[in-house]
């Protein structure tokens, strides 16, 4: 009897915890979508804000976030992949290699606000890039680097050595082997990691606070040394700094919906690529 009771309790605790975790996601999505869908319209995503940002849409914030993500990609992806290639294809176990790996692990654990400080000190001040979408994109690029390296290396590890031997034995150099065999074969895995990383970067706020995000700009960002608006910062601003918080609350919800949808779409693309790859093998 006592045993049955404790068994029942155990079961409820475990199941309860799991349900609670799912409930968190449910509540978050329900609250944001139920209150935000109504402000979503074509105009909302295709127009700039008007009347002191109490009306109109969030176009500059969307284009700003896209700019930012593009710069992050252009910077972090080649460097990240190159570093992963070095670690997986060239590096022998050595003090240096283990130092690189330790660095990567620690970089991944550094709070994002510290990347913001570093971006401020390096890109804005030292390199005189000013507060701009370039500075902010590079800062996010640094932040993304360790994640891209780790996921890429994992994708490379899954390529069997027999693939590499095939071309090497034909007299291809190691770089030719990487370029012609390893990378194409690892591409879906690399892509999944890159997209997931970018979806995180697109949602980051702290690192762009001091490196170039603006409260408001006329029109959309069109060059890399301009400041920019970004979806996450826009949401932050609308919910804490705008002078009529109450009035713009629907806009804040709408912005949250757009931000979450953007991130989810990226995630779903990544899941799809991963799923495709698994079913093919």
């Amino acid at each position: 009897m006592k045993k049955r009771l404790s068994r029942f309790l155990n079961w409820t605790i475990l199941l309860g915890c799991t349900i609670l975790v799912c409930l968190f996601l449910g509540i978050i999505l329900f609250d944001i979508f139920s209150k935000g869908m109504s402000s979503l319209s074509w105009g909302f995503i295709s127009q700039p804000p008007t009347k002191g940002m109490t009306h109109g849409g969030i176009l500059p914030a969307i284009t700003g976030t896209l700019w930012l993500t593009l710069i992050t990609t252009l910077f972090a992806v080649p460097f990240g992949i190159a570093c992963a290639i070095y670690l997986n294809e060239y590096a022998r176990p050595s003090v240096l290699t283990s130092m690189i790996r330790a660095s990567i692990r620690n970089l991944a654990g550094i709070p994002s606000i510290i990347y913001g400080l570093f971006g401020l000190a390096l890109f804005v001040q030292a390199l005189h890039l000013g507060t701009s979408v370039l500075s902010a994109g590079l800062t996010l690029g640094l932040l993304s680097l360790p994640y891209i390296i780790t996921t890429t290396e994992e994708a490379l590890k899954r390529i069997p050595d027999s693939m590499r031997e095939a071309t090497l034995a034909l007299g291809a150099t190691q770089f030719e082997t990487i370029k012609d065999v390893v990378l194409p074969k690892a591409l879906p895995g690399i892509l999944t990691g890159v997209i997931l990383t970018l979806s995180r970067a697109a949602g980051e706020t702290a690192p762009i606070l001091f490196t170039g995000v603006a409260f408001y700009i006329n029109g959309s960002t069109t060059s890399v040394n301009q400041e920019f608006m970004a979806l996450p910062y826009h949401l932050y601003m609308l919910s804490t700094q705008h002078q009529s918080i109450e009035q713009v609350r629907p806009l804040a919800y709408g912005t949250a919906v757009v931000l979450i949808l953007l991130v989810f779409v990226l995630n779903i693309i990544a899941f799809y690529i991963r799923f495709k790859q698994r079913t093919q093998q």
Partner: protein, 231 residues
């Protein structure tokens, strides 16, 4: 590995046999410097192709690998089409574009694969059967006209019919190439090879004509092994 001294005679098939883990694959991979990739291996002694020292830093490893082809235990076609599998090395080594088509055709014919694939050269190579894949891997090697072909248990992943085909292929190739093959299959070694080398614990125990080694082994270990008592 130590104390290994073998001369692989031209245009003959030499089999390397020995119990698992005795270093056959390791030795074979020394011949085309496949170990450059992985390890912190210590290299002593020399391996020579004609008069070229394979481990001389001055000599290009890609050039050596072009002259010494290798076929692996598991067929490992590239994840590309059949045609691209064949043309890959030719492009890398910058063979004239207009000859490529012809070279591929003759190599595939040599491997008795042409008839089976000529209509579907664009098909991904992984769609082929295991035996076909292995013959493709051999053709991919011979298309470069190497001097030596190394084979590491090329039939161990294949069914008996495919194995038979590959064996015939090996015998027919030996007029043009020097072949070194690792095998666990004593019958196979007897069927195809001219010379046999028996290895044990990283050392060369016996080397001689196929007949001699099997019918009349000099060494006690060899006798036990070919007689099937261990391994």
């Amino acid at each position: 590995m130590k104390n290994i001294n073998i001369d692989f005679p031209k245009n003959q098939v030499t089999s390397l046999i020995g119990p698992s883990g005795c270093g056959k694959s390791t030795l074979l991979r020394c011949f085309n410097r496949m170990h450059d990739l992985s390890s912190d291996a210590k290299i002593e002694g020399s391996i020579k192709l004609d008069d070229l020292d394979i481990y001389d830093k001055k000599n290009s490893v890609t050039e050596i690998r072009k002259r010494i082809g290798m076929v692996f235990q598991k067929p490992n076609p590239l994840p590309k089409s059949i045609y691209e599998n064949m043309s890959y090395a030719l492009n890398i080594h910058q063979f004239p574009k207009n000859e490529i088509q012809k070279l591929i055709e003759s190599a595939l014919k040599e491997s008795y694969l042409w008839e089976e694939v000529k209509d579907e050269l664009k098909k991904p190579a992984v769609k082929l059967s295991g035996g076909q894949q292995q013959r493709l891997c051999i053709a991919r090697t011979t298309v470069l006209r190497p001097e030596v072909i190394l084979m590491d248990e090329p039939c161990s992943a294949l069914d008996p019919i495919s194995t038979r085909k590959i064996e015939e292929l090996i015998v027919s190739l030996k007029k043009d190439y020097t072949i070194v093959i690792v095998t666990h299959n004593m019958q196979q070694a007897q069927r195809i090879s001219d010379k046999v080398a028996f290895m044990y614990l990283g050392e060369l125990v016996e080397f001689g004509n196929c007949q001699d080694v099997f019918q009349n082994p000099q060494n006690e270990l060899t006798k036990n092994y070919v007689g099937g008592h261990f391994g």
